[in-house]
């Protein structure tokens, strides 16, 4: 595709700085019950061609984060501070018109639920070609050809037939492929994949993730893979950021995250994954307590009420995001896992618990 070459060449010039630099991004929603601090100070950098996995429960702010960076938030009752630089240009405060120029061509998003993300009364082909014709100025025939090629490249059989069909005539997996084709149509260099496989059958999930990875490699795109499922990011992301209550609590390259976990929340997440080796009827490890209150977060660490390592300090002072040795592992915890302080804290808590049980 001739036009794509043009963009690739441009990107090769700018390899000096990261594609995406986010600094202290905060998104607060003003509601009747108070200010919801959905994203509360997130910073990271993403190089082109790399994948960042963002992991967290519902309510952790991961979806709002991606929307905040792209600028897809509602206009009323939203306060957004901080900076997000794409290719060195600040996008956090851009006007709607300028943002629309970026959407589709530079950054794109694949949404969670392919059933509702596609316009039910519009042909699949048209949903792809409209981007092409609007952003890339293609004429009808050229756009159609490109759309067919796109559908083929995302693995949809009989694309010539499919362009004329409506979303409800396709299966869930195929619809998600169409979504991906739409997102990639104009050759963006940054892709947000927001829970791309959550709404799909397990068997289809791997195919879609493979597809995303393949497209990313081929197009040299940066990708932000958002999910609640650590299994999804395990083999696919270069770095992983774990979010809790609107903040990043731990961020590390994937292997480091799994091998030397530092934050208790990450550890708890890892422990809660059921493993094949477990015998049947093994109790699943759960994280006790309730999701955090985003309106009036507690003093100190947001995770402290549910943390096995929590000490008095945790309830009072909010931990700062520190960078461990090696320079690529960040975590925010006073008593990190795998450190002497952490082990001591855990032991202390377990002893206390035993005493309480005896007394009761």
């Amino acid at each position: 595709m001739a036009r794509k070459q043009v963009t690739l060449t441009r990107s090769e010039v700018d390899t000096s700085r990261p594609l995406l630099e986010v600094e202290d991004l905060r998104t607060h929603f003003l509601t009747e019950s108070g200010t919801v601090r959905a994203v509360d100070g997130v910073s990271f950098a993403l190089e082109r061609g790399r994948t960042l996995g963002v992991v967290g429960e519902s309510g952790s702010g991961k979806t709002i984060l991606s929307r905040s960076i792209m600028g897809l938030l509602p206009t009323r009752n939203v306060v957004r501070t901080g900076s997000a630089k794409y290719e060195g240009t600040e996008v956090a405060g851009l006007a709607a018109g300028a943002l629309r120029g970026l959407w589709g061509t530079e950054m794109a998003m694949v949404f969670q639920d392919p059933m509702t993300s596609l316009n039910p009364v519009m042909k699949v082909g048209n949903q792809i070609t409209e981007s092409l014709r609007h952003h890339l100025d293609m004429d009808k025939g050229e756009a159609r050809e490109t759309a067919i090629a796109l559908l083929r490249s995302v693995g949809i059989p009989e694309p010539v037939q499919r362009v004329k069909e409506y979303p409800h005539q396709l299966s869930g997996g195929m619809r998600q492929r169409v979504m991906i084709a739409i997102a990639l149509a104009c050759g963006p260099r940054l892709l947000f994949a927001d829970e791309p496989t959550t709404a799909l059958d397990v068997t289809v999930q791997a195919q879609i993730l493979d597809l995303l990875q393949a497209q990313q490699t081929e197009r040299h795109m940066a990708m932000v893979l958002i999910t609640h499922d650590l299994g999804v990011v395990a083999g696919r992301a270069d770095d992983i950021a774990v979010m809790y209550a609107g903040k990043v609590v731990e961020k590390a390259p994937t292997s480091v995250l799994f091998s030397s976990t530092r934050h208790p929340y990450t550890e708890a997440l890892l422990k809660s994954i059921p493993k094949l080796e477990h015998t049947s009827h093994t109790r699943l490890e759960v994280i006790p307590g309730r999701p955090p209150d985003l309106v009036s977060p507690p003093d100190g660490c947001n995770f402290s009420p549910r943390c096995a390592y929590a000490q008095p300090k945790c309830f009072v002072e909010e931990p700062v995001l520190e960078t461990g040795p090696g320079g690529d592992h960040e975590f925010a915890c006073w008593y990190p896992v795998g450190t002497p302080q952490g082990a001591e804290a855990l032991a202390r808590n377990q002893a206390d618990a035993a005493v309480t049980e005896e007394v009761a």
Partner: protein, 317 residues
């Protein structure tokens, strides 16, 4: 296709029912069909002769079938007062009414669609709130009052437009339209409010759907998102309401034609009621009923043809 088949069966059933009920109307009248045809005070002999000719002693069903047969050939009897076939009267008067209804629909949709879209897009803004208030006022004002007010303001006080009279399109298109302006506005006012509010509600709902966010995230300009993405699904309910509103329109033309002295079907109904020309009344009712049922049928079919979700109903998992 099965859908269309079902609809045709429904159509036939409803047509039978409606024509049967209309046929029965004459029986409601004290004195029955004889009085309807001959008027009161007709002498005994004429009445008796009429009873024999019309087989008024036959079972109702038989009479109905006969009547239906006549209807099919266009024979609706003769006007008592004017001594012309009812069908002649109907065909004379129908065009004006149809024109009026058409213009009113075009005007009301033409205003309601942009207003509805804007109100939905800018929900809760001052524009939305004021549009809503004005719509509420228009919903509350009966069309005959609005018609009188329009005449008072534009004809009498300002003298811009004629108060009454109808000129057929063929004769003088310019004058035809000039005279239709006020009646059309009077008829359309209430419709605009209904359509606008409906579209607004529907579009607010549609705008909250995921695929709208996706369309925006593709970088599509607002106008395109509103018109091509949001309006499409919402337009189906608008279509259905428009069909139902035809009924309201018909009621409206009766009053409007009276105010503006338009020789249409509506004024024919009123005149014939005044003169107790029962057969004409019945003829008008038949036309209205059948027309109404047919319009609804066409809309139902259109609906199926246009909405791909219905077309492929089988495919919905």
């Amino acid at each position: 296709m099965r859908y269309i088949g079902q609809k045709i069966v429904q159509l036939v059933a409803v047509l039978f029912l409606v024509t049967f009920l209309t046929f029965l109307l004459l029986n409601l009248l004290k004195g029955g069909p004889q009085t309807a045809a001959l008027g009161i005070g007709a002498d005994e002999q004429a009445v008796e002769q009429f009873r024999q000719e019309q087989h008024l002693d036959d079972p109702t069903i038989v009479r109905y079938v006969n009547w239906l047969g006549n209807l099919a050939t266009g024979d609706l009897g003769d006007s008592l007062i004017l001594n012309v076939p009812v069908s002649d009267l109907l065909s004379q008067r129908l065009p004006a009414t149809l024109q009026l209804m058409l213009y009113a629909t075009v005007l009301s949709l033409g205003l309601a669609i942009p207003l509805g879209i804007l109100s939905a897009w800018r929900a809760d803004s001052w524009f939305d709130k004021s549009a809503n208030t004005i719509a509420f006022a228009f919903l509350s004002i009966p069309n005959f009052i609005f018609g009188v007010l329009l005449v008072f303001l534009f004809s009498i006080r300002l003298g811009w437009l004629p108060a009454t009279g109808y000129v057929p399109f063929g004769e003088d298109p310019a004058e035809h339209f000039r005279r239709m302006i006020l009646p059309t506005i009077a008829l359309a006012a209430g419709q605009v409010a209904v359509y606008m509010r409906l579209l607004r509600t529907d579009m607010i709902s549609t705008l909250q759907e995921d695929f709208i966010g996706v369309a925006r995230a593709k970088g599509m300009p607002t106008r395109r998102v509103l018109l091509r993405h949001a309006l499409r699904p919402s337009s189906f309910s608008l279509l259905t309401v428009a069909a139902i509103s035809v009924g309201q329109l018909i009621g409206g033309t009766i009053v409007i034609e009276r105010i503006f002295a338009i020789a249409g079907l509506g004024s024919l109904i009123v005149e014939s009621i005044f003169t107790r020309d029962y057969l004409v009344v019945q003829g008008c009712i038949v036309v209205v009923a059948v027309g109404f049922v047919l319009v609804n049928f066409v809309v139902d079919i259109l609906y199926a043809v246009l909405d791909p979700r219905i077309r492929h109903a089988r495919a919905i998992a």
